[in-house]
Amino acid sequence: MPDSGSQQRDPEIAKSVPVSDEVKYTTCYMCACRCGIKVHLKDGSIRYIEGNRDHPVNRGVLCAKGSAGIMQHYSPARLRKPLKRVGPRGSGEFQEIEWEEALATAVEWLGAIRARDPKELALFTGRDQSQALTGWWATQFGTLNYAAHGGFCSVNMAAAGLYTIGGSFWEFGEPDWERTKYFLLFGVAEDHDSNPIKLGLGKLKGRGAKIVSINPVRTGYSAIADEWIGIRPGTDGLLVLALVHEILRAGKIDADYLAAYTNAPWLVIDAEGAADHGLFARGADGAALVWDRKRAAIVSASDAEALPALTGERRLPDGRRAVPAFELMARRYLDPRFAPDAVAAETGVPASTIKRLAVEAAHAAFNEAIVLDQPWTDAHGRRHATMLGRPVAMHAMRGISAHSNGFHTCRALHLLQMLLGAVDTPGSFRYEPPYPRPIPPAIKPAGPAEAGKPLAGSPLGFPHGPEDLLVDAARKPLRIDRAYSWEAPLAAHGLLHLVVRNAWKRDPYRIDTLFLYMANMSWNSAMNTAETMQMLAERDEASGEYRIPRIIYSDAYASEMVAYADLVLPDTTYLERYDCISLLDRPISDSDGAADAIRQPVLKPDRDVRPFQDVLIELGARLKLPGFVDAEGKPKYPGLYPDYIVNHERRPGMGPLAGWRGSDGTAEGLGAVNPQQLERYVEHQCFWRAEIPEEARFYKFANRAYLDWAKAMGFIDRADPIVLQIYSETLQKFRLAAQGHGAAQPPPEHRERVAAYFDPLPIWYRPFEESDGSADYPLHAITQRPAAMYHSWGSQNAWLRQIHGENALYIHRATAAAHEIADGDWVSVVSRHGRIVVRAKTMEGVNPDTVWTWNAIGKRSGAWNLDPKAAESQRGFLVNHLISDLLPPREGGYRYANADPVTGQAAWYDLRVRIEKAPAPTQVSEPHFAAAASPPLAARPSILRYGAKFRPQAKKT
């Protein structure tokens, strides 16, 4: 035995061994946050991935997902070679084929479609971070059936924001972490955006700002909030309108801000029954009119000399009445039905709490206002000596967006922000370039499709009125997902959740090929998962043909969707390819600067796989799509995606990347193609950032310096001020159409619905699934994103699955007791649509009327190269089986999508259930699906000794 004498000297340790042979900078893809990373390579393998301290998104930190990138990269679930289906759909039986055969097959299928009718191709790209390319490819192909996953995710947030303030939460803006004193977080679990929120919360806590989290479930961020408000799901909009009621009642509003920067003073025509009732009164130049208090006259809203009134009925020159939008708004929300006492029962939030939140928000905004000593000039040329700030910031995400009332709830949030003067002022929500943009955004959705021709514009866009919808002469949808039809008029991100059913149903028409990228539509990305699996695999009885004739799928991993494809195009991991994180797509800017980034290949693939973007460009060239070939029909981007990233111009001077443009590489934003652009990015840690000039950092919608800067950068076409919209004339145009006005009117069966939900002011209504007041399903059921997982990608990761390898149904302790359910019991969860049997866990920190679980942990047995007995498929589960993709039949039998009636956003948080103790104990959650055959994959190791070869060796002592 050693004693103290024998242990005087500590053993030698290899403390200073070089970590790596080489460090490569790139961009993370372990979630949608897109942090900068440094990848340390040693002996040709990844030694370590860490956050890039210089990167504007993550400032050096890296979350659990990003830190598990090694296991994602080396996962045995990686596909290895193109696959051709040889067994029946869903069997998982494939044959490996060469790329030439794969590409030739795709070209044969797609070429025939394009010549016949391009809309027979539906291209939906899931969690795509290259939508600027994939959307443009769809345009050049000529199909309007294109979208990514936003219809599931956040289109209510994006659309409500873009139609209201010209920006939105998540990627188009952020809280002023440095200055805010009161932060309201609505419906945010881990998701969006991951590291910046965590960094920000740490800052707020350090400064003593108050954080209030409004969320039915107390996990991650809610657990450290100063106050957690366990609201009943789907009632956030009502809570927000009660706050609006309170601050209006008390006059705690920023009237000058409303008069100067919003359409609150714009006069709204009051002529019930007329075709322009509820529209803005406009002058001959088309500009809205206001009442000028100084001259006691009706003048143009753009008249810089005007002192616009917020209230008061006026007579228009034609004798009709008009009132400022503010007055319409105030009359509505001052109504006692929005009083805290009136909404307390519905929201589950005590009236005293709501009243106190209003006191606090008003206190922060007006008693603790910030004045920045920063002179600036507004868009009318008026010089201001300082910048006045309202340090109340808000952020919201899925708890708001994934409800059928999410669009209006999000608009209500923006209304509250505007009333407090808390949009892009110091201490409030702040835009991130290229936002703000004109309201509504200029791009409209393009259609119809024509044989052999590109689409006239982008498949996705923003209708300005009923005339911009994609419907045919019979007013039926032009798109397979019914986006931009009367059923989902402002469906700015498409409806991924309707594609499989409608393709199966051949409604409104038959498509030939469903082409999916990174969209796990036979599993966690589908509502009504079991039936979706059947629809993907069902044959037409008469012809024997699959009802969805062809399915092409691209993914890096053997996800559940692979088994349903006819042709599988294996993608690379995120460390094996070029990508661009483009301002034309989903920007990574911050509120003080514009930024974009690239991924560069850190390692060469050891499998016969290709980047999906390379494949798409190759297909474009082989199909001779315009833009993908030159005048002689030769490929325009022979270097594939990196070639495109550098040389593609959306319009002269505007390309996928904004940095190091121009022939000498000194231009930013706009500039000629720079052949050395990628090299410059690699030299600069794979990102570019341009600081917004100091005087341009707030009031961006009306800040002359910002608007001029943004125009010079190519973010906006004209440097005109952007007027925030408390009252949405666009929505009123749809309502008027539903009331029988104008050339484009909804068919009779949709009129009532359009009239009801296209209210120009925010409304609250019960989520559809709950609207019949049924007592059979008394509980809400929702999911939360775990901090250490990103959809199904995370739960196959050898490290992350040790953190969340299975999920339970979390139930409030009192609710569980009332059902005689104890921890670990198996319970049936029953919805109108289905039943699952899962394990229960009780807790305190959840709204008593709500049960919940983690998102996307459950896996199909045998998928992702996990052992068929893996916990994810035995005890893990999806609530998706309980969620219908359609609403119950209405009169006449028609079933609308289970979605927001304005945007078509999937309403998967609307779910209502009942729970009961399972009749018999079990060991496996239900439903359980037999494993499909696995495509050829690497062997699963039974022991993982990753890193053993890197172990530094100390000198022997």
Binding site: M1, S16, N58, L62, A64, A68, E190, I224, R356, W799
Partner: protein, 247 residues
């Protein structure tokens, strides 16, 4: 049994973990695993990594649990790793000298060449900080990234433990807790940092910062509700609003 250093240096390197802002995201745990998978204790073996019962070596684990009931209940995220105690029973219990506390900085390490895998140290540690590698047959544990914090091939700013560098909420701090003037010691003093289970007498070096008092309201004297802008029943709110306007 193994002795502690007879004349330890005053330097006591350790971590300060802020429970006020830890959101329980597991970034520290995974980044620790990633760094140390190639470090001096490599590999951090994972048994059955894709099977029904994956079992890996982790030097840092985050526990999330609730305390209290009803309105008083709280959710706590609690990262747990070796506390590098001043009086570590895991060292004194070691029959071979494998488990030791460094004299120069107080880091508790395992010399795998001497470890016989008897697991006495894991029984002795009340904090559950020891991790047995069944494949290698030796005990492993948090090294405080001794191969990173002293690594002269790294920039000085990067010479901090992986868990500290990566923490997205900046809830983790590293430094010399033996120096009362160090940043971490000052942080502990100002925030009331505490020892985990001090009554056991192991004198942990790592400290936890308790959650700050929650801000129930913005200031003491805020009213329960906002006062109406105009007297009730006067019906004059809309007429009154324009008086808020400048000019």
């Amino acid at each position: 049994m193994t002795s502690l250093p007879s004349s330890p240096a005053p330097k006591r390197l350790g971590l300060v973990i802020d429970l006020d802002i830890c959101v329980g995201c597991h970034a520290c745990a995974v980044n620790c695993k990633e760094w140390n998978s190639g470090g001096i204790a490599a590999p951090l073996t994972d048994l059955d990594p894709y099977g029904p019962e994956p079992l890996g070596v982790w030097f840092n684990r985050v526990h999330t649990f609730e305390v209290g009931e009803g309105a008083a209940s709280r959710t706590v995220h609690f990262p747990r790793s070796c506390l590098h105690c001043a009086e570590p029973a895991c060292v004194t219990v070691c029959p071979t000298g494998a488990s030791y506390k460094r004299a120069e900085d107080g880091i508790v390490l395992v010399n795998e060449e001497l470890c016989i895998g008897c697991k006495l140290c894991s029984w002795a540690c009340p904090y559950g900080a020891r991790e047995y590698d069944y494949d290698a047959g030796v005990m492993k544990k948090c090294t405080l990234c001794v191969d990173k914090i002293y690594n002269e091939t790294l920039d000085e700013i990067d010479r901090v433990p992986a868990c500290v560098a990566t923490c997205p909420a900046t809830a983790r701090h590293f430094g010399d807790l033996g120096d009362p003037n160090s940043e971490v010691s000052k942080l502990v003093a100002s925030r009331g940092g505490y020892d985990l289970m001090p009554e056991l007498g192991y004198a942990p070096t790592n400290k936890y910062l308790p959650p700050r008092a929650r801000r129930a309201s913005l200031e003491k004297d805020t009213p329960a509700e906002l006062a109406p802008a105009v007297p009730a029943g006067s019906g004059g709110f809309l007429a009154w609003v324009d008086r808020l306007l400048s000019g």
